[in-house]
């Protein structure tokens, strides 16, 4: 066999083996697909890495999947605060990220909140992000991040660490984790509330929200 033919055959063989090897590896190590559960339940139970505040032994749990760029979420903030203020000794309140795809700055806002969380200021940063929504949602990435940096400075955070964390893989996967759990729960809007692990229709008033929580507490 002439050299060219030999070369072609050998290279083809190596390619075939390589493709089978890599393909097999990818298939073997791929995360199993998770079908969205459209029955309205929380797909991923609360754990230690979740942002949870309130009673350590809650009579009811409340989880909010939210997006810092979402106007509805910002609008819900006062209601959520008022309800939490009243029930904080009896319920736990958990925030999970669900940045909607059409909100271009939502992911980086979530990363900023996570970076602040690493320095113990998650809820404070979240409040600043919602309150200052109009200041950053329309900006490009760099400008929005500059606004987040001013929030971080106001919170007295270590800026070097904040900026490093904002862009870190760990923070990104942390947000991704929440997003995927939301997708697996078939969430299609924000905010979405889960009380005792069951999705509820967004309460239209503070009174309605409180009634839902009262019901959950008395019907565990």
């Amino acid at each position: 066999m002439d050299t060219q033919k030999r070369l072609i055959i050998w290279i083809s063989a190596i390619l075939v083996v390589g493709i089978i090897g890599i393909g097999t590896y990818e298939v073997a190590t791929a995360k199993p697909a998770q079908l969205p559960v459209a029955n309205g339940s929380l797909s991923m139970p609360l754990d230690a890495t979740d942002h949870t505040k309130g009673a350590s032994k809650p009579e009811a749990t409340v989880v909010e999947y939210s997006d810092f760029e979402c106007p509805a979420c910002a609008a819900y903030q006062p209601m959520v605060e008022a309800v939490y203020a009243q029930y904080k000794d009896r319920i736990s309140f958990t925030y999970r990220h669900f940045p909607l795809p059409q909100h271009l700055n939502a992911p980086i806002a979530a990363y900023a909140a996570e970076a602040a969380s690493n320095q113990g200021k998650f809820w404070e940063m979240g409040d600043m992000l919602f309150n200052g929504q109009n200041d950053w949602v329309q900006l490009d990435t760099a400008s929005a991040q500059a606004v987040f940096a001013t929030y971080a400075q106001k919170l007295g955070l270590d800026m070097t660490k904040f900026k490093a964390d904002e862009n870190s893989d760990a923070v990104k996967s942390r947000v991704e984790r929440d997003l995927q759990s939301g997708t697996a729960s078939a969430i299609d809007h924000t905010p979405t509330f889960f009380i005792n692990g069951k999705m509820v229709n967004n309460p239209q008033s503070e009174a309605e929200f409180k009634a839902l929580i009262d019901y959950a507490i008395t019907h565990p």
């Binding site: 055959i9 050998w10 063989a13 083996v17 089978i20 097999t24 190590t29």
Partner: protein, 148 residues
């Protein structure tokens, strides 16, 4: 001189080796990543592959399988390239070793662990196939040369 080693035989050996390679590579990848193994037909995939019997001299058996099956294919390629019958003899010997190993692992699954791993069973089938092909090869090697 007519080549007395039919091409279909060598192609069959390569195909069996590729199947064995894919199967072993799959198990090796699962071993490296620690991911659970999707079992079918039988139920003992994880038990078998996590047992002490899945290691030989500290090396995962799946890794040995990958190297072995790759070598079988490689030997066929080398024969095609150089026409040296030494490579065919090595293949024949290899398939015997392979079969003995497979019989050993089948014994472990059936009598010691009493659990089966379907991917190990697939490997046993490719081993048996390779052994059959290896014996045909040996027979062809020993047949008197046909002069053109």
């Amino acid at each position: 001189m007519q080549s007395r080693i039919p091409n279909w035989l060598l192609v069959a050996i390569i195909l069996a080796a590729l199947v064995g390679f894919g199967d072993s590579a799959f198990l090796l990848s699962k071993h490296i990543s620690g991911a659970p193994i999707p079992c079918f037909i039988v139920t003992g995939c994880d038990s078998v592959t996590n047992s002490a019997y899945s290691f030989f001299l500290g090396i995962p058996v799946s890794a040995i399988g990958v190297v072995f099956y790759l070598s079988m294919g490689f030997l066929v390629m080398l024969y095609w390239d150089t026409k040296k019958t030494l490579f065919l003899k090595l293949i024949s010997v290899g398939t015997v070793v392979c079969l003995l190993a497979s019989l050993y692992f089948l014994y472990i699954q059936a009598f010691i662990l009493r659990e089966y791993c379907v991917y190990c069973l697939i490997s046993a089938i490719t081993s048996a196939t390779l052994f059959t092909l290896g014996m045909i090869l040996l027979k062809k090697l020993r047949a008197p040369k046909v002069l053109a």
